[in-house]
């Protein structure tokens, strides 16, 4: 009998509608206005790569050990170096990082013995060209240079 009455008075539908009504509270609305409101990504977020430089003298921290290139599953890092005859040490010449093939697994970051290569919290990496996705040493050190438009 109770079941029949529930069926006639659409109890199941009103039960569901009550849930949607409860959730109408404006405090529960989750809208991020993305370009104006910057999302705060986590501290450990693996985003755009960066090659750190020593803030004191502006020299790169990279010792050109090539460990990141070996650790990378996609072999997208190419490191070249040359031997400095005065100090008898290897010095970094070029460093290319193909972000179009990168899957941001963070293995290169783990492999780096001097914390030179780092995946940062920067997540906007879109470019207009494929070539723009291949980052050279300057881009890695200074960050990408997005095209500036006058408005």
């Amino acid at each position: 009998m109770a079941g029949l009455l529930k069926k006639i008075f659409l109890a199941d539908l009103f039960q569901g509608l009550w849930v949607t009504f409860r959730n109408q509270d404006p405090k529960l609305i989750y809208t991020e206005r993305y370009p104006e409101e910057r999302p705060k990504v986590a501290e450990r977020y693996r985003g755009a790569p960066r090659l750190n430089i020593n803030p004191d003298n502006g020299e790169t921290l990279c010792i050109a050990c090539n460990l990141c290139a070996l650790a990378c599953p996609e072999t997208l890092i190419v490191v070249t170096s040359e031997r400095n005859e005065e100090t008898k040490r290897k010095e970094l010449t070029t460093f290319t990082y193909d972000t179009s093939r990168c899957m941001f697994c963070g293995l290169c970051e783990d492999a780096c013995p001097v914390d030179a290569l780092e995946l940062t919290q920067d997540f906007e990496m879109a470019t207009y060209t494929r070539e723009g996705q291949i980052w050279d040493r300057q881009t890695l050190e200074e960050g990408p240079r997005p095209t500036q438009y006058k408005c």
């Binding site: 109890a11 539908l13 569901g16 849930v19 986590a42 501290e43 450990r44 599953p73 899957m103 697994c105």
Partner: protein, 370 residues
């Protein structure tokens, strides 16, 4: 054609997919129809094939780890756990207790996230639009925890062979406890929306029935098997990663229809919360990385490890030839095996039920095609 009248029945072959939104990816189902009735189906897969198993042969053990996240991308952490356990078995490495507990917490959280996405999209397929918003809202909280823990939301690469790379962040335990507290009332809320709803019950009851014996014949695992009344859960049957320490139940139902599978998955989410609460209350102190060298070089041998992923039994079979790269890695994905039961479940049903049955199998095409 001139001789046919409207009384004649002709068989119609209809392609569903690969772009159909209800096939959850790029599955193509060829339906043989007699009016609204389904006479037979054939699944065409392979649209998302990337050759992951072959890639494994050209990568070192550690390098292959991020690729397994990309198979079942909804439950990436479960995939990572399965692979890491398989290589650890090859290496014969003991994982520290602290790492095991954190692994269990994250895997169960991933199970909840996977089931929430399933519930939302399944309800959306059936025609209930509201649950997907609520499900994704709660899933967001779980993904935020993943992001804070390992730096990525979906393809997490959270575990490393031998243990963990990342120590928990400050407030990790509290966030898990808060999530558990927040989440349980929300499960009741989804049930309020769906369980008694007459449209939901009408669309799901007695649709796509698969009995327990048929499940065993096909090798179907996971919630589909448990909804058919078979009490089989690898977390209980062959405990791994310290699951024997936690107290939880295996939810089962008897009918094996789509509605029962829904009930089983809802109950599984509650059980996952139970496991997480127990695990987070007793995270042991200690190291998080086992004794694994910088270069992973397992001895010659082979290992098979299967875990209970959100979708069923997920197996990893790794063969080592003594070098730094695996000789062969074979994946036994749950979705791939479960999909084979589709024809048996839908034959004789209606076209509209095809969508419901594909949804209830909870397939992920990244895992099927690999």
């Amino acid at each position: 054609m001139a001789d046919t009248t409207f009384l004649d029945s002709t068989e119609l072959v209809l392609n569903m997919g690969p772009q159909h939104p209800s096939t959850h990816g790029v599955l193509r189902v060829i339906l043989k129809l007699d009016g609204e009735k389904v006479l037979g189906t054939e699944c065409i897969i392979g649209y998302l094939h990337r050759g992951v198993e072959k890639i494994a042969e050209n990568r070192t053990y550690a390098q292959f780890n991020p690729y397994v996240d990309r198979m079942d991308y909804v439950a990436a952490i479960s995939n990572g756990l399965g692979y890491c356990l398989a290589v650890e078995k090859l290496l014969n490495v003991e994982v520290p207790a602290r790492a095991q507990a954190i692994r269990v917490i994250l895997t169960e959280l991933n199970r909840i996230a996977s089931h929430l996405l399933w519930l939302g999209t399944h309800a959306l397929d059936i025609g209930a639009i509201t649950p997907v918003f609520y499900c994704l809202r709660e899933r967001e909280e779980a993904l935020k925890i993943f992001e804070k823990y390992c730096g990525a939301r979906l393809t997490t690469h959270a575990f490393r062979i031998g243990g963990l790379l990342y120590e928990t962040y400050d407030g990790f335990e509290q966030e898990i406890i808060d999530f558990c507290k927040m989440f349980l009332p929300h499960v009741d809320e989804y049930e309020e929306l769906l369980t008694n709803n007459r449209i939901w019950v009408g669309r799901l009851k007695d649709v796509g029935i698969l009995s327990g014996d048929e499940c065993k014949e096909f090798g179907v695992t996971g919630p589909v098997l448990r909804a058919a009344g078979v009490k089989w859960d690898l977390r209980k049957a062959q405990p791994y990663s310290g699951y024997e320490k936690y107290d939880f139940e295996i939810p089962t139902r008897t009918n094996g229809d789509t509605y029962d599978r829904y009930i089983v998955r809802m109950e599984e989410m509650r059980q996952s919360v139970r496991i997480m609460e127990q695990a987070v209350a007793a995270i042991p102190e200690g190291p998080i990385m086992g004794k694994v060298g910088k270069v992973i070089k397992p001895p010659v041998g082979e290992a098979y490890v299967s875990i209970e992923a959100p979708k069923g039994e997920l197996g990893y079979y790794a063969v080592s030839d003594g070098s730094t790269q695996p000789y062969r890695v074979r994946v036994r994905p749950p979705s791939f095996v479960n999909l084979q039961a589709l024809d048996r479940m839908i034959r004789g049903g209606l076209v509209a039920d095809v969508v419901a049955v594909i949804g209830t199998l909870d397939i992920v095409l990244g895992e099927i095609d690999r």
